[in-house]
Assembly symmetry: C2
């Protein structure tokens, strides 16, 4: 074992990099987990779809840079959620120079309306399934980044309060359940789901109000808001359809 001699600090010693921050912005579009893509204006990959991103400034933290990119691209100031999930620095991932990018995933609620107000040639919301399966070509290594982001979302649904970021400040249990169903690609029984989140206090708090019944009719559902317990976990676990033991 050698001692740590590697961090020499002659400024000529270290190779310069550009550091960028890319943000995978998720939202729910009629029951499908979707991400925001923007069309690139410049080379390289001009005209191609990509996830939003930009250079980090020396005066801001990585989190700040991600927040700034989010605001610049969507006008939204505070995302429901913004988490870092990976860094990408393969040689040649940017054809022009050494770029290391730090990837964030964000969750927004009302993105659909915002995107509808822009030129459809410049921004669109695409179901993750289409990106994962390669139906849409993305610039750089952005397809891999999106894939990793989706993977992270699936995990965090089970271990964090991520799901609440997809719904509004008040929500029905059906809406919340739909988030899990879309993220995990499963079907959950409504009655069992209700029991899981209402059995213990701290997950959802009844507001006493009711939402308007859907277009299809039906009993008007209760409105809830998120409790504090989400800070430390999730009320339900991902079903293991694979009979324990994998394969």
């Amino acid at each position: 074992m050698t001692t740590n001699t590697s961090k020499g600090y002659d400024p000529a010693d270290y190779p310069p990099f550009a550091v960028t921050v890319d943000v995978v912005i998720f939202t729910m579009v009629d029951g499908a987990l979707s991400v925001l893509l923007v069309r690139r204006g410049q080379e390289p990959f001009a005209g191609m779809w990509a996830i939003p991103g930009g250079f980090k400034l020396p005066t801001e933290s990585l989190d700040d840079a991600a927040r700034r990119e989010l605001r610049e691209e969507t006008g939204v100031d505070a995302a429901s959620l913004l988490v870092q999930f990976g860094a990408y620095g393969d040689p040649g991932r940017d054809p022009r120079m050494n770029v290391v990018t730090v990837a964030y995933l964000a969750v927004l609620r009302d993105l659909e309306g915002i995107v509808a107000g822009t030129d459809a040639a410049d921004a669109q919301l695409v179901p993750v399934e289409r990106i994962v399966r390669g139906k849409v070509a993305l610039a750089f290594d952005h397809r891999r980044i999106v894939r990793d982001a989706v993977e992270r979302v699936r995990r965090d649904l089970e271990s964090t309060g991520l799901a609440t970021a997809f719904v509004g400040p008040t929500f029905t249990l059906s809406e919340l359940r739909a988030v899990y169903e879309a993220g995990w690609e499963v079907e959950l029984d409504g009655a069992n789901f209700r029991r899981a989140v209402t059995a213990a206090a701290g997950w959802v708090v009844a507001t006493g109000k009711r939402a308007a019944p859907g277009a299809e009719g039906g009993k008007p559902p209760e409105l809830f808001r998120a409790g504090r317990a989400w800070k430390h976990g999730a009320p339900i676990r991902r079903p293991r359809n694979t009979t324990r033991g994998g394969r």
Copy 2:
């Protein structure tokens, strides 16, 4: 919403950064999850303890850089595990320049012997608990990095085959159980643990051999090797001692 105009490519446009890779190297030291610390030889923070790290080269990937650092610091070529878990770039985290570091966590098995062969003033294995609680002062923001790494280990124990990286190619169920107990700071019943990992095929494969009984005597335990199922998950879940609902 604006279109993506942020990635201008005039080389004078983007602020230069140094990119480093830091590795939190975990190993088990008599039942305690521990990390490798090395003493810094140069400024800044000369003489202080830190986790190993160094500059990324433009010709290598981030993963390659992490592997290289691991080899340079420990002489070990292939770690049992090497995963990226975070990037850190707060302004001022390095007093001399703009540095963004990408953090990896590694798991090694026989590190104790390697460290014993070096000058104790240059490298040591420290239980994570001492670092988390701030008993050891670390350079840069390395304490935070180690804390995040520990958090990641705890999670990955439940959702990946991380635990098998701590044990040898063949192992007893007690050894494997000890990994979970140390990582989660819980006690697991030996009989129940055995049932969990042997109930379904694919987790552990009996080799037919038996290890020598411990110094304390007792029935000599069976030796197993890891099966393929670990690729996709873990055989046991972290006990929820908090009576569901957190708070």
